[in-house]
Subunit: 401 residues, 2 copies
C-alpha cells in the first residue's frame, strides 16, 4: 500500500479557476443544493469514495488499460475524478492502482490538478482493491490526512458520467440502511457479496443510463462524443465594439443566436462594462468567437487569448477560439486580406501548446442583403462545426464564409 | 401485412457499383469463401432473414425510433440491410415495420438501392413482428417473389455490425440442429421461448463484441465513430503526372504513405495505364487525394469528380475529395494563388449535393529541404483529419499547409 497525496505537490491553486467551484460545470450537470446534500452538510456526515482502478482492460482490444485511455488527449480516469472532486461533500477520494501504473497516476493527478486524492496499491482482484482502499480510510493514514468516513462510495474508475443526485441517493440510503459499503452497479456481484457475507443490510439504488461503464472500444468513442457535446453547449461572443450597433458584427451575433439555437450564446466583454468574461470562464465556457470589427488585425483576439491563457481553463478541455473578420470588397481584394490574416498560423501554433485551438474565419460582406445573410449563415455553420468537432488538426486555418 | 419490393421500382442497377459485389467492402469486413459458405452454396440451402424493426425507441431519449436515427445522414437500419444484402447466400430479407413507418422504409430502400428486401407490417411485440415475417416467408408470397427458406436468420435492425462468419455459424448450426428460427442475442428471451414452447432443439451461438446493439443515445455516437473509422481505412492518390518523378507531388505521396501508416494508401490513375481508378472504386475506397502538379487549375480534380459522380459510390457514404495544389513562391504571391483557388467553393457546392465532400489544400513549397518536409507533413496531417472527421461543414474550404 502506498498512500500519498501527489496532488499536493502540484502547482498552487490558480485564482479564477472554475475548479474551485463545487457541483458546477457542463461535464457534471449542475444540480442545486438539494435536500439530501443539505442534510449531508448539516449532519457533517463524513463521506469518502474508493475507486478500484487496477483493471488491465483486456476487453478493450488495446494495450492501454481502459481507465488510462485518452479522451480528447486526457485519460478517462481523470474525467471520473473530476466528476467526484467537484462534490465538496466528498472528503477523500482513494484510488487503487497497480504498482506499475502508480507513477502514471501521480502524473495525471498533478497535470490535471486533481484535489483530495490519495493512492493505494490495487489488489489482484477488484474486491481486494476495494479492501485496500477501505483499509487506508479505516486506518486514517496520518501522513495522507485521511479522515475516517461514515459512508464510503465505491465507484468504478471507468464510469465518468456519474451525476450528483445518484451519489446523494446512495449516501442517503447508506446512512438509512446502516451499511458502509455501497456499489452503484445494477445487480452487482458486490451487492451479493455484501448480502451473503457481511450480515449487513444492503439496498440497490436505481442508477441512470448516464452511469454506463466504458468497457469496449466503442464505449470510448461514445464517451468522447458525449464529452464533446457537453463542452459545446455554450459559446461566448467577444466583440471589440459596442458603439456601432448597426455594424455587421451585430447582425452576425444575431445570426449565431438564431442558427445555434441548441447552444447557449452569451456575450462577453474585454474592456467595456457588461457581462464579464471572467465570470463566463468561471461558468466553464469552452468556446469563444472573437469578432474583430474595428480593425482587420488580431488585437481583440490576442487580448482574449491572454485572458484564456491566464485562466487555466484549458487544462481540462481543449478550448476553441474562432477569430472572425469581415471582408469589405470596397477596401481590399480577398487575396490580400487572406494574406494579411495568414499570420493567424503563428498565434495558433503558440496557443496550441496551451490546449487552445485557434482558427480564423473571414466572412464576405457583400452589399446585397440576401447575399450578406447567406454569408453570415455560412459563417455560423462553420463555427458550429468547428466547435462540435474540436479538430486539433485544423488549428491555424483561415476559413472563408 | 404488406409484402412488396419497393426496391424493384427504384433506379436501374448502376454499372460499376460496388454494391453488386457480395461479401466485400470496408463496412463489412471481407471474409473469403469459407467452408461454411461453400457448403451453403453447394447444398443450395435456402436462407432468408427476418428483421423485426417495429420498435419505438423509448430508451433513446429522442423522438425518432432508433432504427431510423441517422448516422452520417443515413438511417441506422440501412447499414444493417447493407450488412445482410452483401451476402449472396441470403435469398430474401424481410423487414417488419409499423404501418406509420412503411412509407419511410420504402423511401430508404429506394434511396439507398437495397435489394432483395420485402416489407411486412410489424406486430405489437417483437415476437409478433418476427411471426409476421416468418408467415410471409412460409406462404411464399408470389407477388413478392419470396421463396420458402430452410433456415431463417432473425436479426435485430439495430445491430449494424454483424459479420459474415457469425451468420455462417448460425446457419450451419441451424442446419445441424434442425431448428428453423435462430436468434443472435446472447441468452435471449427468443431462445428461451423456442426451448419452452416449440419442442425444437435450439443452440446458442457465441457472438462477437462487434454484434452489439444500438440501444442508447451514446450507442449512436459509437456507431458513427466506428463507421467513420471503417470508411477511412483506404486513401487513393490521383496525380496528373507520372513523368516527372522528381516533382514535389511524388515527395508528398511518399510523405502521405509514411504519415498515414495505419491507412492503406493506393495510387490511382485517370489517364495512364496503371492501377485503374474504377477498380479502386469497386473496392469501396471513400477517400481521394487529387494532386494537381502540372497546372494550378482544377482540371484533374474535375475529371476525378466526374468519375466519382458516375460511379454512384457516394450513395452509401460521404466521399471525401481533397484537391491538392502547390505554391511555388517564385511564381505567384500566396494571396493571388488563394484567390485563384477560391473557385473550389463552387465545385464543392455542386458535388455536395451528390454526397461528395470537396476541400482544397494549398501546400507551401519552400526551397529549404527541412521546411518543405514540414509543409508536406502538415499537409498529410490535415488530410488525415479531414478524412477522419468527414465534416460536411468544411466543404469548399481552402486549407493551407
Amino acid at each position: 500500500m502506498e498512500p500519498g497525496r501527489p496532488g499536493g505537490s502540484g502547482p498552487a491553486e490558480p485564482g479564477p479557476l472554475p475548479r474551485g467551484v463545487c457541483g458546477a460545470g457542463p461535464a457534471a450537470s449542475a444540480s442545486s443544493l438539494s435536500g439530501a446534500e443539505a442534510q449531508i452538510q448539516r449532519c457533517a456526515l463524513a463521506v469518502a469514495a474508493v475507486l478500484p482502478a487496477g483493471g488491465r482492460g483486456e476487453r478493450m482490444g488495446v494495450p492501454t488499460p481502459k481507465q488510462f485511455c485518452p479522451i480528447l488527449e486526457r485519460p478517462l480516469i481523470s474525467y471520473t475524478l473530476q466528476a467526484l472532486e467537484r462534490l465538496c461533500w466528498i472528503n477523500d477520494i482513494v484510488v487503487a492502482v497497480t504498482g506499475e501504473n502508480m507513477d502514471a497516476m501521480k502524473g495525471i493527478i498533478q497535470r490535471y490538478q486533481h484535489k483530495r486524492i490519495s493512492l493505494v496499491e490495487a489488489g489482484v482482484t477488484r474486491h481486494r482493491s476495494i479492501f485496500n482502499g477501505l483499509k487506508a480510510l479505516a486506518e486514517g493514514q496520518p501522513d495522507a490526512q485521511l479522515s475516517k468516513p461514515e459512508v464510503v462510495i465505491i465507484h468504478d474508475a471507468v464510469r465518468p458520467f456519474v451525476e450528483e443526485d445518484i451519489l446523494l441517493k446512495v449516501v442517503t440510503a447508506a446512512k438509512e440502511h446502516g451499511c458502509s459499503d455501497y456499489d452503484l452497479e445494477f445487480g452487482t456481484e458486490c451487492l451479493q457479496l455484501a448480502l451473503k457475507y457481511c450480515h449487513i443490510k444492503a439496498k440497490l439504488v436505481e442508477g441512470s443510463p448516464d452511469l454506463w461503464k466504458v468497457t469496449y472500444k466503442q464505449d470510448l468513442y461514445a464517451a468522447e462524443s458525449i464529452i464533446k457535446e457537453r463542452i459545446s453547449e455554450q459559446i461566448c461572443i467577444v466583440m471589440d465594439t459596442e458603439e456601432d450597433e448597426a455594424h455587421v458584427g451585430h447582425h452576425f451575433e444575431e445570426m449565431l443566436k438564431n442558427e445555434l439555437n441548441h447552444v447557449k450564446v452569451t456575450s462577453g466583454s474585454l474592456c467595456h462594462p457588461g457581462r464579464d468574461l471572467q465570470q463566463i470562464i468561471l461558468e466553464q465556457c469552452y468556446n469563444f468567437v472573437c469578432v474583430n470589427v474595428k480593425t482587420s488585425e488580431f488585437e481583440e483576439t490576442q487580448k482574449l487569448l491572454d485572458v484564456l491563457k491566464e485562466s487555466n481553463i484549458s487544462i481540462l478541455y481543449p478550448v476553441v477560439v474562432i477569430s472572425v473578420h469581415f471582408l469589405d470588397h470596397k477596401s481590399v481584394p480577398i487575396g490580400q486580406e487572406m494574406e494579411n490574416l495568414m499570420q493567424i498560423r503563428e498565434f495558433a501554433k503558440e496557443v496550441k501548446k496551451r490546449n487552445i485551438l485557434l482558427c480564423g474565419l473571414l466572412i464576405y460582406y457583400p452589399q446585397e442583403k440576401q447575399k450578406l445573410q447567406d454569408s453570415l449563415r455560412q459563417g455560423a455553420i462553420i463555427i458550429a462545426n468547428l466547435i462540435k468537432e474540436r479538430n486539433s488538426g485544423l488549428v491555424g486555418q483561415l476559413l472563408v464564409a
